[in-house]
């Protein structure tokens, strides 16, 4: 029961990736993807972007649950006003609310990172502080 989390920039390039296992039900946080799925995650996420692109100018919401599905993996997406996409692909069921909360908190982390003058939109996120805090959030919500 694992999550694949990615932040994609305005041009759909990956800025940050994280694989994490669920901490709920005494999970230990270790991701547990079967090898085939592990290799495909990036493609799954990319495929769902097409759907997102279709919808983004018709619907004005931020959180898209059930954006796409792939053999038991559901794709959730959160789209900011500045067109940064947070995507989660997971096989854990019924986690809509936790994922929504996780996205909201990551949004705040992202904005703090963005405010630094040395970070520009669409740069890969390399900050160690960012990474450790995202992991903490994952532990809290996922």
């Amino acid at each position: 029961m694992s999550y694949y989390f990615a932040i994609l920039g305005t041009n759909d390039s990956p800025l940050y990736e994280l694989e994490i296992g669920t901490y709920k039900q005494s999970g230990d946080g270790k991701p547990n993807f079967p090898i085939e799925i592990k290799e495909l995650q990036q493609f799954i996420v990319n495929a769902s972007l097409d759907i997102l692109q279709d919808q983004q100018f018709k619907i004005n919401q931020i959180f898209f649950k059930n954006l796409d599905a792939f053999y038991g993996y559901q794709v959730y997406s959160y789209l900011t006003q500045g067109n940064i996409k947070f995507i989660i692909s997971t096989n854990v069921k019924n986690q809509d609310e936790s994922i929504r909360q996780f996205f909201i908190e990551v949004n705040e982390l992202y904005v703090k990172n963005l405010l630094s003058p040395f970070y520009n939109v669409n740069d890969p996120i390399r900050s160690v502080g960012f990474d450790s805090r995202v992991c903490l959030l994952a532990k809290k919500y996922l």
């Binding site: 990736e17 990036q42 619907i59 900011t80 006003q81 939109v121 160690v128 805090r133």
Partner: protein, 219 residues
């Protein structure tokens, strides 16, 4: 355990980003509160900084047009950041927090909506007042204008005669352009001083949207 953030380069494949040093600041920026009470400073500090920035770029630029372009670029990166910050704060004010139940999350997807967002949310957050007017050009379907009767940055600046064609508000035009570009409303923004009775510094920010954008709107 989780993977450290990896930048993805399709030519190379996934790789970890090693950091060369592990100096960790004692208080990280991530601990600071984005929604805390604001800190005020004096307008003259902002003016002095702005003037010096124009002055420094003036010495390096070979023409006024190049100077305006440099100011536009400086403003552009600010625009991209200000947009996300203002948007996050709006959501927070609408109770879209992780603990709140609200699902009132909105993105602006129409031209008029995003322009309203700029004039009534972003302008006050930067300049302490909303923009004075928002107009659609009667000449072209793709042109809109934001009007500020008394731009804060220009309050204490007067442009000497030899630089008469220069408009330092190219900086603010850059901010607007950065905002609109990152929301996928592609455009070009320029600043023009159009004085009227009572407002000598009145500035019009002319926004020229791409034609395909307007087409997308009407779909």
């Amino acid at each position: 355990m989780s993977k450290i953030a990896s930048g993805y380069d399709p030519a190379v494949g996934p790789r970890t980003t090693g950091t060369t040093t592990v100096i960790r600041p004692r208080s990280s920026i991530y601990d600071r509160n984005l929604h805390r009470a604001r800190h005020d400073i004096s307008v003259s500090s902002l003016s002095f900084l702005f003037m010096e920035m124009v002055s420094m770029n003036l010495n390096q630029a070979k023409s006024l047009i190049e100077l305006e372009r440099k100011l536009n670029n400086l403003g552009y990166s600010i625009g991209t950041k200000v947009l996300e910050l203002a948007s996050l704060r709006e959501n927070f004010n609408n109770n879209l927090t992780s603990s709140g139940k609200s699902n009132v999350s909105k993105r602006e997807i129409k031209v008029l909506d995003i322009l309203h967002f700029i004039t009534s949310v972003i302008w006050p957050s930067l300049f302490e007042k909303p923009a004075d007017n928002l107009e659609k050009s009667s000449e072209s379907n793709c042109q809109y204008m934001i009007i500020d009767n008394a731009p804060v940055l220009m309050k204490y600046i007067s442009v000497p005669k030899e630089y008469e064609g220069l408009n330092c508000e190219a900086f603010v035009a850059g901010i607007v352009e950065g905002i609109l570009d990152s929301t996928f409303f592609k455009c070009e923004v320029s600043a023009h001083t159009v004085p009227v009775e009572g407002h000598l510094g009145r500035t019009v920010y002319l926004i020229n949207f791409d034609e395909e954008l307007i087409a997308r709107e009407t779909q």
